[in-house]
């Protein structure tokens, strides 16, 4: 049975019980042979800093959908992060030929009375009014924490309201307290879109034998899509990108594709298993096309699945040769520089592989979580001779500050809003993804190398910050073990 047959999405804690949120030691290579067994899934922290719940990245995806109203069901602050997402949405729309278009998000702004009496009625009214006022194709009724605690039933409200409105209403479960893993964002969005926008198998469009579904992510922009399209285009294949910036009508095209491939293996199993089971579309979840070898493996995987393995290998070899000579000019600046990375599980590991290829030396990696999908990538990185720090942490800059103050790397690469600790320590920081730039494929490798060389070669801004930089920790904290607040066995209270 597909996960999508359930009314409510199945959380990561149940689907992948090995997933961990807290781990830290100085021996990354020790993970190589043992994988998940080396990292405790029960571990947590006795001290935590604010984090990112699944709602935040989920909104990033949902707000990108054209002709869609995102209706946040919660208190008025829940989901105001859409103001931040909107900068990406506007940029993405401009790249795609519709400049100046803002995302459209609403909040039911639950108040004290709604908490006491329940918010179902208000949600139903909001859906009807939003349908009337904006006439969208889709209304996403998104539950924040509050409805999940007071017992609102967004699924029933959506079902009952559907007959009264023109838009398709899709309930989305984003109660932040239900899953510790940010990556759950992708599951809940896929759950809603998969259940609401995919056709009955009997009515699926005719097969498109040369089309490959490429699962994009909120953290990649059009530059990356164009590069992946270009590479698969060299094999004579067409690409169908989803779900980010995908018109609601276009989701059904995914059922007709010959293959699906993930670009971020931790994100997509939820939806791709569904596409396979229900529509017979096979899938690949193995590599992220960030890094030279990783990109080659990604392209060859597609080639093999499509009966084009030799052609794919030829493309890869040509591309690599061309890239290698182009990268030469950055080598004097980058070679031997030490780097520290911190971001989503797969992004940080794959980017570390790229940095090694560029001649940098990895001194530490932090992943927002750790699960079975990372084992492939861990093995690649553990092959080297040098060992380094590995920390599993959903941001938690207090651990990061402690580690960085000791390691003082030449450059830091971090998640969106995850770079200020390094910057305040005077370490040149480079954001590990930004939808306005390229990171993926060969073009992305070149572009990141170019920008990295610029950053490392001109670190003055960060040096200036570092001269007077302040972090909110006691001097004694830097003398403590950075991982002293991790409890391997979890809470005992």
């Amino acid at each position: 049975m597909s996960y999508l047959d359930n009314k409510i999405p199945v959380i990561r804690e149940l689907r992948h019980p090995e997933t961990s949120l807290a781990h830290g030691d100085g021996h990354f290579r020790g993970l190589g042979g043992r994988g998940c067994a080396a990292v405790s899934s029960r571990a947590d922290r006795s001290f935590t800093q604010g984090s990112i719940c699944p709602l935040l990245p989920a909104l990033g995806i949902m707000c990108s959908l054209p002709d869609t109203v995102v209706l946040l069901h919660g208190a008025v602050g829940c989901g105001t992060c859409a103001s931040g997402n909107n900068a990406n949405i506007r940029a993405g729309n401009a790249q795609r030929g519709t400049p100046g278009r803002d995302a459209l998000w609403l909040s039911t702004a639950l108040d004290e009375l709604n908490v006491i009496n329940g918010g179902n009625e208000k949600l139903a009214e909001a859906i009807a009014e939003a349908d009337r006022a904006y006439k969208p194709k889709v209304i996403l009724a998104v539950s924040g924490c509050l409805p999940g605690v007071i017992g609102d039933d967004i699924d029933s409200v959506a079902a009952q309201t559907q007959e009264r409105v023109g838009a398709r209403i899709l309930p989305v479960h984003c109660e932040g307290f239900k899953s510790r893993f940010m990556a759950t964002a992708y599951d809940v969005v896929y759950h809603a879109l998969g259940r609401g926008l995919m056709p009955d198998p009997a009515e699926a469009p005719a097969k498109a034998p040369l089309t490959v579904n490429v699962m994009n992510v909120g953290s990649m922009g059009l530059a990356d899509e164009k590069e992946l399209s270009r590479l698969l285009g060299r094999l004579g294949l067409k690409t169908n990108f989803l779900p980010v910036f995908t018109d609601p009508e276009s989701f059904k095209k995914a059922a007709a594709a010959a293959l699906s491939i993930s670009v971020c293996p931790t994100h997509d199993d939820y939806f791709l298993t569904h596409l396979k089971e229900k529509y017979g579309v096979p899938y690949i979840i193995r590599h992220m096309p960030v890094g030279v070898k990783n990109t080659g493996s990604w392209v060859v995987d597609v080639g093999r699945a499509m009966g084009l393995e030799d052609e794919a290998k030829k493309v890869v070899s040509e591309e690599e040769k061309e890239l290698k000579s182009a990268l030469g000019e950055f080598s004097p600046v980058l070679k031997g520089k030490t780097a520290f990375l911190s971001a989503g599980e797969y992004r940080s590991l794959a980017t570390a592989s790229l940095l090694k290829e560029l001649g940098l030396r990895i001194v530490g990696i932090r992943s927002f979580h750790f699960d079975e999908f990372a084992e492939v990538e861990i093995k690649k990185l553990a092959k080297g001779k040098q060992d380094f720090v590995y920390n599993v942490a959903n941001v938690q800059p207090f651990e990061e500050a402690n580690i960085l103050a000791g390691l003082k790397p030449d450059v830091f690469l971090g998640h969106w809003h995850g770079n200020s600790t390094a910057a305040r320590l005077g370490i040149p920081a480079q954001v590990m993804y930004n939808s306005g730039h390229g990171y993926m494929g060969y073009a992305g490798a070149y572009d990141l190398a170019r920008r990295l060389a610029r950053r490392v070669g001109h670190p003055e801004f960060y040096r200036r910050l570092g001269r007077h930089g302040r972090l909110p920790y006691k001097a004694s904290w830097y003398q403590s073990d950075p991982f002293s607040r991790i409890r391997r066995g979890g809470a005992t209270k």
Partner: protein, 452 residues
């Protein structure tokens, strides 16, 4: 309130967001959230697109300690987790005061946070010398402005030191909520500079140069000045009950006209002789003229006079509208106040606007929905096919970033001034006081002549 079942693209965040922005911008204070796992990240991402690129702070964004409540705590209660978090924070975080702020979850499940904080304050429970205070700020209780007021109330009750000795030259000033006013740092500086003209020291609590010590000494001020119709007025009443200090509510003074009125209100409340106030205003006016004078030729010949559409919160809409009409002689055709207010509060805003000497335009709308504002604006500025028509134009849109599509549709110049401000980088810039008016003149003209 609008009576709508939703708020479109909220131009504020929740009580917790406003409280965090307030507590976290008092140097020396460590905010600590007892809340869901995404609340802190949510506010950081919000500010990314709304607060003039201002996100970090010593202990803001993702550095803020937070209990990150999970399902287990929802079922079994979160007090144990909070006690542990406070103890650990006291060992790891550097600060003079730990400010506990609650979000929706603990307030719905009934955690006795007040009991815990009282207990720890009394017994010194988890160690350390730093103080511990609490404001209960779940999102369902109110918006960011409510949260800002709650933080001030708590500070006035628990942190301000009681004293009978009053310093006649010290005034406390608030009503500019950090972050929710993206220009808050510059605006607080502008207020300080303006009050210094009367020989007064303004104690502003928030931002660089202020901090925990300035909060502690607030009890010795001669007067409290709230530069808002509604923000922080509840806290002013609490201050008066607790410390006996009176307060005046003023306009948010932007530019020469507004600042003249502001200084008169404050000076009068402090019993400063009218002749002295008049001399101060006269000198300030001359300096203002000296700065403005070089612009006369081009300003005049380029026909810079505009019809203005103003969209902002209850601080900005009146202040900008007054500035355009009094200082530039522009024509405010429509002022839109974007707060979601009950009819009584709407009236209070208008009464305050008039009562502080402002000029309320004929058309004022209380509305936050960009689409509805656009429809109203098109009625005024849209025009007809008639050959001769007195159609107001050229148009200048002074609003938030959400009015960009409206401005494009009207072919108008646009400047983001009120939250959310996505497309400007704000560091020291502020619009209050005489200098602020000159800065605003520069900025609106920059927007008009970008293609020159």
């Amino acid at each position: 309130m609008s009576g709508l079942p939703y708020i479109e693209r909220p131009r504020w965040s929740c009580a917790l967001g406003g409280a965090l922005a307030a507590a976290g911008n008092i140097p020396g204070v460590v905010p600590l959230l007892h809340a869901g796992p995404g609340c802190a990240g949510n506010f950081a991402w919000t500010n990314n697109g709304a607060a003039g690129l201002n996100v970090t702070g010593d202990c803001l964004a993702l550095s803020v300690p937070s209990t990150n409540l999970q399902e287990a705590e929802i079922v079994f209660g979160g007090i144990g987790r909070l006690r542990e978090e406070i103890g650990e924070a006291r060992e790891i975080m550097e600060g003079g005061l730990f400010f506990i702020l609650t979000g929706c979850l603990p307030e719905v499940i009934g955690d006795d946070v007040r009991g815990l904080v009282d207990d720890l304050s009394r017994t010194g429970g988890t160690g350390g010398t730093a103080g511990l205070v609490l404001a209960q700020t779940p999102g369902f209780k109110g918006d960011s402005f409510f949260g800002y007021n709650e933080v001030l109330k708590t500070l006035f009750e628990k942190v301000v030191v009681k004293t009978r000795t009053k310093n006649p030259a010290l005034v406390n000033v608030w009503g500019v909520p950090p972050t929710l006013d993206p220009f808050w740092r510059g605006n607080l500086r502008g207020l300080k500079n303006a009050l210094a003209l009367l020989g007064l020291e303004a104690n502003v609590f928030f931002g660089p140069g202020a901090g925990l010590d300035s909060v502690k000494k607030a009890g010795s001020a001669a007067l409290n000045v709230v530069v808002s119709a509604l923000y922080g007025t509840g806290a002013a009443e609490r201050f008066q009950e607790r410390h006996g200090t009176g307060f005046v509510r003023t306009n948010l003074p932007v530019g020469a006209g507004g600042t003249d009125r502001f200084l008169k209100i404050v000076g009068r409340a402090l019993g400063i002789p009218a002749r002295k106030i008049s001399r101060v205003l006269d000198e300030a006016g001359r300096a203002d003229y000296d700065n403005l004078e070089p612009l006369i030729d081009v300003y005049n010949d380029m026909e810079a006079q505009r019809h203005a559409l103003i969209v902002g919160d209850l601080n900005y809409a009146p202040a900008l509208s007054d500035f355009f009409s009094n200082d530039l002689g522009w024509v405010p055709e429509l002022a839109v106040v974007t707060n979601d207010l009950e009819p009584g509060s709407q009236k209070a805003v208008l009464d305050h606007w008039r009562g502080t000497g402002g000029r309320v335009p004929e058309r004022v709308l209380f509305e936050h929905r960009a689409g509805v504002i656009e429809e109203e604006a098109l009625k005024i500025f849209g025009g007809t096919e008639a050959k001769y028509q007195n159609r107001p134009g050229p148009v200048f849109v002074a609003g938030s970033s959400l009015e960009r599509s409206l401005a494009a549709r009207l072919g108008a110049s646009h400047l983001s001034l009120a939250y959310p401000v996505a497309n400007r980088a704000v560091l020291t810039r502020g619009y209050t006081g005489y200098e602020g008016g000159l800065t605003l003149t520069e900025d609106v003209l920059d927007a008009c002549i970008a293609g020159r």
